[in-house]
């Protein structure tokens, strides 16, 4: 029976090639999108999984609550926290380990002692307990050696990079940052990419030296701490001890109230309040958003199917009637129709898989992630595809099957089933639902694109174009070469300005400090301190509103501030601040200039109060303003000069433009996704519409012919056929507007600098949807209207 059903299904599909094509086209594109979304979500959900007892692993993170209601979070902890917790939380915690991220120059010497390889690498100082918390696959050696200073554990990849074959690496030496040699004492298997701690080079924590090792008041995002709970301990029970812990160690008065949070390992990849070492974060909300879009896509494609199937139902009423009087049960007919749906869905999923494979490289480069569509590697993908097939078959096939199998045989045999059976009302509702989704997505896309454009055109308060940021080395030996380096650079013809600074005006790297103004008590907010030389203003095209530029100096003798700082201190007239003293710790200097506000972070955030002073040992970058016509050539010369100045290290450069664009990577991805998926949904909806109008036109062929005989013009006929569709799409617009408004206003609230929602995206979406409807529908109804009258009337 099933085989026969399948055969009949195949013949039926072949007979109605046009509708079958529309169905398969819509479903396969919809399913491909769904599969892509699923494999992306699967990849994201696989982060930090697979460790033994992973439910007991936590990260300690920090928070500060300020009097003005602001809260600030960091992924890092004060350096003394880990040993203190190891001691104070011992009843609850099995193991705790500090891990410190650092970047530096690695050098490998060959047997003869000659330099063989040098590279800038990301390294981690870890305690041996770290490997008691996370179980990695050890290829050779062990972590016990990390108890001693000057040991290093390498990943297989690094060991092969440094020594050719990892089997030869044990016992060899590497040099880190010039002054220390480390002996390789262990090799671990490469850590998978979907890991928030991308371990490659692990140095003994004992070798980590920092002036803040004992300081509770300093937190850097490079210093993290992980622990593993004892079995059967509830994380809630740590709250009490945490309170007394905070009281015990945070004794100094600070503007923000310190706190710590125990973040579960499974939360690290999704929580955008905190960063992580891999720099990969996927807010769970975005995953939900993607899931919802996927769901909508499949709904839209299924609606096409339902509409075309119920519309076609009349032509199959005779078959239903005959089968019923031959003794077919209703359930057997339902099975038969579902078999047909299943056939279509199976074909679609196969084509969808091919489309997925085609679209995968684009998706990988968009998300910069190694997403895999291998059902052997991840059988869950196959399970998902099967579920998708079952879900779509039932969703799309069940209702038409019920309608068709429910025909009264007496009426069906006499062809008295009218065109309205099979739920014309429902079909209209479904079209409205479909276009509501479509229009909402169009509006969403338009608003996102508008906001992105707004951000791109937002005045930053400085000029970031054609500025290269070249890394500087700032140990005392190398800062001595700064002056010569700068002079040499300034002689290069393609270079307009050079400034040595800690960061560019806009940077992800910010440094907050407590301060007091004009001898008063400490301000209740922190100031963002930047260090820069006297060429900073010229290089970045920053404007002074009062006072003067800094005078050339290697130490902090004077400060420039921004307008926001004065606003926060309630100073109306910038001139009033000139000459007033700023104290920060043991440093004290007068304000000499006030700079017009500039955007110092992404436009999600408001402008910080900023303080700029000269301090040579804190110059991490040479900002080089280039003649934009000869960038490539000039940068080659810059690299050459750099290599001659700092021959012992590795050159690294980036462009400020790129850095600023990177802030909006998330939005860019979202914009692209919306554009693509809106396009897909529009396409699916409109081929569905085309199918439906084709059907209506066929159904009404006779009516059209009679009307023509009665004297109706072609335009009148086209209007008649189009009317109901335009009304449906119009209603869909009305439903979509409030939905879209809610969605876009919520999204825009995430930006400190945002467009106001105007009527235009809404009006434009209506215009687009109505126009495409009109075109789609008219093509078909025109054909029906000019068809030969005699042919239509001849049939009876």
């Amino acid at each position: 029976m099933f085989k026969l059903n399948l055969k009949i299904a195949w013949r039926n599909l072949w007979k109605n090639k046009g509708y079958t094509f529309i169905n398969i086209l819509g479903l396969s594109i919809g399913m491909a999108s769904c599969i892509l979304i699923f494999i992306f979500i699967r990849y994201q959900m696989s982060f930090d999984e697979g460790f033994k007892n992973e439910n007991r692993i936590y990260r300690v993170v920090s928070s500060w609550a300020y009097n003005d209601g602001n809260q600030f979070f960091s992924q890092g902890v004060p350096l003394p926290l880990t040993p203190a917790m190891r001691n104070d939380f011992s009843p609850y915690i099995e193991k705790i380990s500090a891990i410190e991220n650092s970047v530096g120059l690695i050098k490998i010497n060959n047997v003869a002692g000659k330099e063989q390889l040098k590279a800038i690498e990301n390294v981690f100082y870890v305690e041996p307990d770290f490997f008691e918390i996370f179980n990695y696959n050890w290829l050779s050696g062990n972590y016990a050696s990390l108890k001693n200073p000057n040991s290093v554990v390498l990943s297989k990849e690094m060991a092969e990079k440094f020594f050719g074959n990892w089997k030869n690496a044990l016992g060899k030496n590497i040099n880190y940052e010039g002054n220390l040699n480390y002996t390789v004492t262990g090799i671990i298997d490469d850590v998978a990419e979907n890991n928030s701690v991308p371990l490659k080079i692990m140095l003994s924590y004992k070798s980590f030296k920092d002036r803040n090792l004992e300081k509770w008041g300093s937190v850097g995002s490079n210093s993290e701490s992980y622990f593993k709970l004892k079995p059967n301990v509830n994380i809630e029970t740590l709250n009490g001890p945490l309170k007394s812990f905070l009281k015990k160690y945070y004794t100094e008065k600070a503007p923000g109230k310190e706190g710590h949070i125990f973040q579960p390992l499974s939360d690290i990849h999704y929580n955008d309040k905190f960063g992580n070492f891999s720099g990969r974060i996927m807010p769970i909300k975005q995953l939900y958003g993607l899931g919802v879009i996927g769901f909508f896509l499949i709904i839209t494609a299924s609606i096409n199917f339902i509409n075309l199937a119920t519309a076609q139902a009349i032509s199959r009423s005779k078959e239903v009637g005959v089968r019923k009087v031959m003794g077919s049960q209703r359930s057997q007919l339902v099975t038969q129709f579902l078999t047909e749906t299943l056939t279509i869905v199976l074909i679609s999923v196969l084509i969808g898989s091919v489309l997925t494979e085609i679209a995968l490289p684009g998706m990988q480069s968009l998300f910069d992630a190694k997403i895999s569509f291998s059902i052997f590697q991840h059988p869950i993908i196959l399970v998902f595809m099967l579920l998708l097939v079952v879900f779509v078959s039932l969703l799309a096939g069940f209702y038409p099957a019920i309608v068709m199998s429910g025909f009264n045989p007496a009426l069906a045999i006499k062809n008295k089933i009218s065109a309205n059976t099979g739920g014309l009302g429902l079909r209209k509702i479904l079209v409205v639902v479909q276009f509501t989704i479509t229009v909402t997505l169009i509006i969403g896309t338009l608003v996102i694109l508008q906001q992105m454009k707004y951000i791109r055109e937002q005045p930053l308060g400085f000029n970031p174009t054609a500025i290269a940021m070249v890394d500087l080395l700032n140990d005392s030996l190398k800062t001595q070469r700064f002056a010569t380096f700068k002079t040499q650079l300034k002689q290069v013809p393609g270079i307009k300005e050079v400034s040595f600074c800690r960061t560019a005006p806009s940077s992800q790297n910010n440094n907050g400090s407590t301060f007091s103004y004009n001898g008063g008590k400490d301000a209740d907010f922190q100031v963002n301190t930047k260090n820069a030389d006297e060429d900073y203003l010229k290089t970045f095209d920053l404007k002074l509103v009062a006072g003067r530029n800094l005078v050339k100096s290697d130490t902090t003798n004077e400060y420039m501030v921004n307008e926001t700082l004065l606003k926060k201190l309630n100073i109306r007239n910038p001139n009033e601040a000139i000459g007033k003293m700023i104290s920060m710790g043991d440093m004290k200097a007068p304000i000499v200039g006030v700079i017009q506000d500039f955007k110092n972070k992404s436009l999600h955030e408001t402008i910080d109060p900023i303080l700029i002073g000269s301090l040579k040992p804190r110059y991490f970058y040479a900002a080089i303003k280039l003649n934009s016509k000869q960038i490539t050539g000039t940068m080659k010369v810059v690299e050459e000069i750099w290599q001659n100045t700092f021959p012992e290290s590795v050159y690294n450069q980036s462009f400020l433009d790129d850095q600023i664009n990177a802030y909006y990577q998330g939005e860019k991805i979202m914009g692209t996704l919306f554009k693509v998926f809106a396009g897909v949904i529009i396409f699916i909806s409109f081929i569905g519409l085309f199918g439906l109008i084709s059907f209506v036109a066929t159904q009404r062929t006779k009516e059209v012919a009679i009307r023509k005989v009665l004297g109706a013009s072609t335009i009148e006929l086209v209007k008649m056929l189009n009317g109901s569709f335009l009304v449906m799409v119009f209603i869909a617009n009305l439903v979509a507007w409030p939905l879209a408004y809610l969605f876009v206003s919520k999204w825009l609230n995430g930006f400190a600098y945002r467009i106001e929602i105007s009527i235009w995206p809404f009006a434009l979406a209506m215009l687009i949807s109505m126009a495409i409807t009109l075109i789609t529908v008219s093509i078909r109804s025109y054909k029906a209207a000019v068809a030969n009258t005699i042919d239509a009337l001849k049939y009876e």
Partner: protein, 234 residues
Amino acid sequence: MIELKNIEKYYSSKGIKHYVLRHVTTTIKQGEFVSIMGPSGSGKSTLLNILGMLEEPTYGTFEFLGEDVTSLNERKRIELYRNHIGFVFQAYHLIDEMTVYENIEAPLLYKKVGSSERASRIANLLDKFNIVAKKDLFPNQLSGGQQQLVGIARALATQPSIILADEPTGNLQSAQAEEIMQLFQKLNKEEGITIIQVTHSEKNATYGNRILNIQDGVIKEDSPTQAPQMGGVV
């Protein structure tokens, strides 16, 4: 075999009853060949639909094989379709997507007849109706008469005891029509299959042995066929 008592069928709209059938009482015995005649709108098709359990009478009782089937649940009705009743339609109503062979096979599949039994029955029918060569053709590749032959073969496949035919020759040319009627007569005489047909044609009615004449929903006349059948049996 069939007993109708006081069958009434009406549709009410705005409180007014429009009668289609009134006080229809009759008995049809096993082996009869009955022709229901009457002008358009007289209710003959409705009567056939009631006999085929496609419609329910508003009033009255209908016994089929001694069992009251006036209102029957779907399962029971399907049982009767599978075992006792074969339908033949004016417009043949073959399933367009199925070949001749598959069309005849379909009711056997619903009846869950084993595959070897199925094959032999179909082979028999194809042979009997001289359509073996056409078994792999689709309905639209056949002439009207051939389609109706397939329709009858399909109705006979489950070996029913009664065939209900609604204007079986209505769409056919006279030569083909004659062929079909002779086939009916042969089935009735040789295999004892009860046949009830609705027809407009006096000539067709003469093939049977009883005529029910219906006018305005009432049986006006119930008579044996006038002249004995002339034409030879095929």
